[in-house]
C-alpha cells in the first residue's frame, strides 16, 4: 500500500472569530476486516481509528472512526480562531503509524 497522504484545505483568508470550513482527507484503504481478497483470504482490519485536530495545543475536534467510515476518510468541520496560530492534524492508523500535517493560520 502506498504511504497514506493527508490533505487539508482551508479558506484563503481567515478573520478572527469568524467561522471557516476545514476540509480534510487522507488516502487510506480502510480495510474493514470483513473483506476477502481475490484468493479468498481475509484481508485483516486496518483503518484510521482516530483523527485529532488541535490549535496551539488545544484540541479542536477529535473523531473516533470505525470500519464504516469510507476509504480515504473525508471529514469536514467548521471552526473559528481568535488569533494566528498553528493548526495541527493527526491521523492514527491501526498499525501504529501516525500521519501528521500542520497549517499555519494567519488571521487578518
Amino acid at each position: 500500500m502506498a504511504e497514506p497522504t493527508p490533505r487539508v484545505k482551508l479558506p484563503r483568508s481567515i478573520e478572527p472569530g469568524v467561522p471557516f470550513t476545514v476540509k480534510t482527507r487522507i488516502t487510506h484503504p480502510m480495510h474493514t476486516g470483513e473483506r476477502h481478497d481475490s484468493e479468498g483470504a481475509l484481508v485483516p482490519r486496518r483503518i484510521i481509528n482516530r483523527f485529532v485536530v488541535s490549535y496551539g495545543g488545544e484540541v479542536v475536534i477529535s473523531v473516533n472512526l470505525e470500519p464504516a467510515v469510507s476509504a480515504d476518510p473525508y471529514i469536514q468541520f467548521e471552526m473559528a480562531v481568535p488569533a494566528s496560530g498553528l493548526l495541527e492534524f493527526q491521523w492514527f492508523d491501526d498499525d501504529g503509524s501516525v500521519y501528521s500535517l500542520q497549517k499555519q493560520v494567519e488571521v487578518g
Binding site: P19, T32, E34, R35, Y55, E58, V59, V60, I61, S62, V63, N64, L65, E66, P67, A68, V69, S70, A71, P73, Y74, I75, Q76, F77, E78, M79, A80, V81
Partner: protein, 140 residues
C-alpha cells in the same frame, strides 16, 4: 462560542415543542445497534429533536454516503447504523473552537437506518435518524 444561525434557532425551537422520548429498541436490528447506543449514552433516555442529520434518502454508492450532522449545544455526537456488520460509524468530540457539526462519508453495506446521537452540554441526549436506500452496497 459561535452564534447559532437562523436555521439552527428554527431547528431548535421546532424541536423543543416536538420533543418526544425515543422508544427503546424501536426496531429489530441484528447488529447490536441498541447496545452500542446504550454504551454511548450510559443507558440514558434520548429525546427527539435538536439534532439535524442531513443525509440522502437514496444514494447510488453505498461505499461513500455523505452525512452531515449538526447539534447546537452538543459536546459529542456519535453516528450508528443498523445494517452493517458493526453498529459504530464515528464519534465526534467538540472543543471550544469548533461548531458542533461535522460532515463525513460512510459505508452502508445495504439500505438501512443511520442514527445520530448527541450528548448535550447539560448531559442529556438527543437523537435523529434517517433511512437511507443504497443502490449498490458498500462492501462491509
Amino acid at each position: 462560542m459561535m452564534a447559532p444561525t437562523r436555521r439552527d434557532v428554527l431547528l431548535l425551537s421546532a424541536s423543543a415543542t416536538a420533543a418526544a422520548l425515543i422508544p427503546a429498541g424501536a426496531a429489530e436490528a441484528s447488529n447490536g445497534v441498541w447496545q452500542a447506543i446504550d454504551e454511548f449514552t450510559g443507558g440514558a433516555l434520548r429525546l427527539e429533536g435538536g439534532v439535524l442529520l442531513d443525509a440522502p434518502e437514496i444514494f447510488d454508492n453505498g461505499g461513500a454516503v455523505p452525512i452531515r450532522v449538526v447539534a447546537e449545544g452538543a459536546r459529542r455526537i456519535a453516528l450508528f447504523n443498523d445494517g452493517n456488520p458493526n453498529p459504530g460509524v464515528a464519534e465526534f468530540t467538540f472543543g471550544r473552537l469548533v461548531r458542533p457539526e461535522a460532515t463525513i462519508r460512510i459505508r452502508l453495506a445495504r439500505s438501512q437506518t443511520v442514527y445520530a446521537v448527541a450528548e448535550m452540554e447539560d448531559g442529556t441526549f438527543r437523537e435523529a435518524s434517517q433511512k437511507i436506500a443504497v443502490t449498490v452496497g458498500g462492501c462491509g
